[in-house]
């Protein structure tokens, strides 16, 4: 099977910023004789107004918990001047206006790429409603203003509801480049209305991909080769067919699917399959062997990815040299909703109901497998039960389309088990880094070098980001990179390369501070004068986190700073270590993410990212043995639970700078903040994750 379209997140940011005019708002000039006759009336690609006065907003960024349904509605409603209580939201299909070259949700970009576009869309729709009212009153539109789902005639105080104006407004040409409110006039941006999706998520009615039901639908479970890249040599499905409820057994590109009239029967039928695998060339891969191989690679020079000054000469003249090797394991995303897709393939088209982060990839995958034109493949986005990067892939969509094609025209829902999820993920890559740091006689850093060994994935810098672009001003820097080949599929995982590289960087910087005999906060301050926003969050976190102040007996602090996704954050973690067991009590995070749209959601995302990262410090790691993933379910890949949750305090720097990202901001920072606190507690450096208690006693 072909891999789905490769995604370059940075490239996307550039191209989407360059798009302008009608494409940005998706104006559709009404054609004569084709007036809309039923349903809410479309003013542009993001706004529909119903004759019942409801306002339907198109949410083109997937909702996976990060609050897009609410925060994107705030951007639209800020200019639309609609009644917040009358808002309905829906997830649209794939259209160029929702993302060019591709529609998707990744890279903590939703607010960054939508901030101007959606305010423009809201303002344009508002102006059309005002124009419609002005025409009805036969006055100039300057005499009208919009407020709370109505247009008001300022001379007479007459009001017309948006609902009563919708039909006329929808026939008007759309204005472009409507002036936007200055920040001082914001009524919704910068406030925290309750999330629009909460009521649906407390009574079971929110529709996730896994909840899709179609008339006559069947259910599938797929057995894949336990070794990556392996293939079916032969199989016998006769015992599976004997399981009650099983309808069919089908071989597809990467396995054998059992199709039944319910999910459980499909899973039971799958257990009864007999399959002989051709395991392929990766059948002997193991984690200990990979570590040895990568250590050998790190002993040799790699490709230079950053060079400042002359590190070799500076090291030769340094008063003190610090060296360390850091390692991080493969990680699984493990979103709570197991991967799934429901697909119906007909001769004339294909429908895909899916919780997807990249709808364009899902659509292209469906088109490629069915042979249908892309526009005949409709993607129906559902709520995502977590994404974290995993749902950016279309591998699970491809499987479901192949199965549904074999069962055409019957719709089929493919549901992965948790075991499938952990054993067939596209993993956060493992990584191995060899560091050196040089200090002068006063303890000032004069040289820094890093040699990174990490499987390549995604864009050009993903394997090295977080070290290559580190913000400390050190006069001589050399960063090198070597890409090993492992056969293990890797991809984006919340915060991408920063997830491991900021751990390495910030933990090693702490080693340099210790070698210099300096306080970790003081040491960083001196090196961050050139990055004032990062310095500012460091100072704020140190102040709010009581850095330098006494702690209860047995508790220790660690600090770390990260600049990723256009935002800046610093964290101070308080921990204790008892018999090697690490407990985190309190995390204070200061964050500067530019203009904030919804502070409560920013706070949620900081907490969320911290929990996601914290699990990797103490508990989570994917290991390989005989080409197979060892971890099978939440018993041996056990994320953070409520009794391990520290108190998290979030301090947001007020700002009117362009919005930065937030979904991936705090995940990398928590890791070094905790391991640096562990060093303060034990004088032992954590150079490999997850922490094994035996290493600390």
């Amino acid at each position: 099977m072909k891999t789905p379209t490769k995604i370059n997140r940075r490239g996307f940011l550039k191209s989407s910023a360059a798009v302008g005019g009608g494409l940005v708002l998706g104006f559709h000039l009404p054609e004569k004789g084709q007036a809309q006759t039923s349903g809410p009336l479309k003013l542009n690609a993001f706004v529909k107004v119903g004759t019942d006065d409801t306002v339907t907003l198109e949410i083109h960024k997937s909702e996976m918990g990060q609050g897009t349904v609410t925060s994107l509605s705030q951007l639209l409603a800020e200019e639309l001047e609609c009644d917040w209580k009358k808002i309905r939201t829906e997830f649209p299909g794939v259209e160029p206006v929702y993302g060019t070259p591709m529609m998707g949700t990744y890279g903590s970009l939703s607010i960054r790429t939508s901030y101007n576009q959606l305010r423009q869309a809201g303002a344009a729709a508002r102006e059309m409603l005002i124009q419609a009212a002005a025409q009805q009153w036969n006055v100039d539109k300057s005499q009208c203003r919009a407020e709370n789902n109505s247009v008001i005639n300022t001379a007479t105080n007459a009001r017309l509801s948006y609902g009563s104006l919708a039909a006329a407004a929808a026939k008007l040409p759309a204005p472009t480049n409507v002036p936007l409110k200055p920040a001082a006039q914001f009524k919704l941006i910068g406030t925290s209305p309750k999330r629009l999706d909460t009521p649906l998520k407390v009574n079971g009615s929110a529709g996730f991909g896994i909840d899709v039901r179609r008339p006559g639908m069947l259910y599938a479970s797929l057995e894949r080769c336990p070794v990556f890249g392996g293939k079916v040599a032969s199989f016998d499905g006769s015992k599976a067919m004997a399981v009650p409820g099983v309808k069919k057994v089908v071989q597809i590109s990467n396995g054998v699917a059992v199709i039944a009239d319910n999910t459980w029967s499909a899973m039971e039928g799958r257990k009864a399959l007999t399959i002989k695998w051709d395991e392929g060339k990766w059948a002997s891969v193991s984690t200990p062997a990979l570590r040895q191989e990568w250590a050998a690679l790190a002993a040799k020079p790699g490709q230079s990815v950053r060079k400042v000054g002359d590190a070799a000469t500076a090291f030769a003249g340094a008063a003190k040299k610090v060296e360390a090797v850091y390692e991080a394991p493969y990680l699984s995303h493990a979103p709570m909703e197991p991967l799934n897709a429901t697909v119906e393939v007909r001769a004339d088209g294909c429908d895909v109901w899916v919780s997807s982060q990249i709808q364009s990839a899902a659509q292209q995958t469906a088109a490629m497998i069915t042979g249908l034109p892309a526009e005949k493949c409709q993607i129906h986005t559902q709520y995502l039960g977590g994404g974290f990067g995993r749902r950016g892939g279309a591998d699970y969509v491809a499987e479901a389309v192949e199965i549904a094609k074999a069962m055409s025209p019957t719709p089929v829902k493919l549901t992965w088990t948790r075991e499938d999820d952990l054993q067939h993920d596209t993993y956060r890559p493992a990584s191995y880094v060899k560091f050196s740091g040089g200090l002068d006689a006063q303890g000032n850093p004069v040289a820094f070098s890093a040699r990174i060994v990490c499987p390549p994935f995604g864009g050009n810098n993903t394997a090295v980001e977080g070290i290559q672009d580190m913000r400390y001003s050190i006069p001589n820097v050399q960063v090198e990179y070597t890409a090993p080949d492992t056969g293990t599929p890797v991809s984006y995982w919340r915060s991408v390369g920063y997830s491991q590289n900021c751990y390495f960087m910030e933990a090693f910087l702490d080693e340099m501070a210790a070698a210099a005999g300096k306080d970790p906060v003081e040491f960083r301050r001196a090196l961050l004068a050139g990055t004032p926003r990062l310095l500012n969050v460091l100072n704020l976190a140190a102040e709010k986190g009581d850095w330098g102040k006494p702690l209860p007996a047995g508790r220790f602090r660690g600090v770390a700073v990260v600049n990723n996704i256009g935002s800046f954050n610093a964290q101070v973690a308080e921990v204790s270590v008892n018999q090697g067991k690490v407990k985190v009590y309190r995390v204070v995070c200061a964050v500067d993410c530019g203009q904030v749209v919804n502070p409560a959601i920013v706070e949620q995302q900081i907490q969320s990212g911290i929990v996601y990262g914290l699990g990797t410090v103490t508990k989570l790691g994917i290991t390989l043995d005989k080409g197979r993933v060892v971890q099978k379910n939440f018993n041996n890949y056990d994320p953070i639970r409520i009794d391990e949750m520290p108190v998290v305090e979030v301090h947001i720097v007020p700002s009117t700078q362009n919005p930065g990202g937030i979904g991936e901001a705090s995940t990398p920072t928590i890791v070094p903040a905790v391991v640096n606190a562990v060093y303060a507690a034990t004088k032992k450096r954590v150079r490999m994750l997850p922490i094994r208690p035996a290493d600390l006693v």
């Binding site: 998520k201 896994i210 319910n262 709570m336 977590g386």
Partner: protein, 165 residues
Amino acid sequence: MAAVKFTLNGKSQTVDVVPQMPLLWVLRDHLGMTGTKFGCGMALCGACTVHINGQPVRSCVTQVSTVAGKNVTTIEGLSADNSHPVQKAWIEADVPQCGYCQSGQIMTAAALVAKTTNPSDNDIDEAMRGNLCRCGTYQSIRQAVHLAARYQAQSGGAQAKGGAR
């Protein structure tokens, strides 16, 4: 196949399925009640939590034959209008992020506040540690359970409205 009769959200229900089928899949695939979620299939994550005779139970490892004659309550049966004390508290604290685990979290919390008048943070951790949340909503969950306990007290106290029917 065998007919199994039980009470589901206050109404009599008969299903004709393989008796070993987990209650989770009977609810989701046969009865179309998709509020109860699949997360692990091994009682490790709590996403599938329902009440059986008022007790929180993992429906992914509960064979449907074992609920014959019993009262089963799912998230859909907690209230018709988000008025259960735990739902009110979850809305007030804006707990859910992706929301996938929240049916299970809410069912576990409903059982807790039904029997514990004023739960401590430790009581909450003890009762809720079987429910995983990958979005990390735990701080909001703690806050919301305290709030739910207060709402529960206002609406007649523990035992009065615990979700069991």
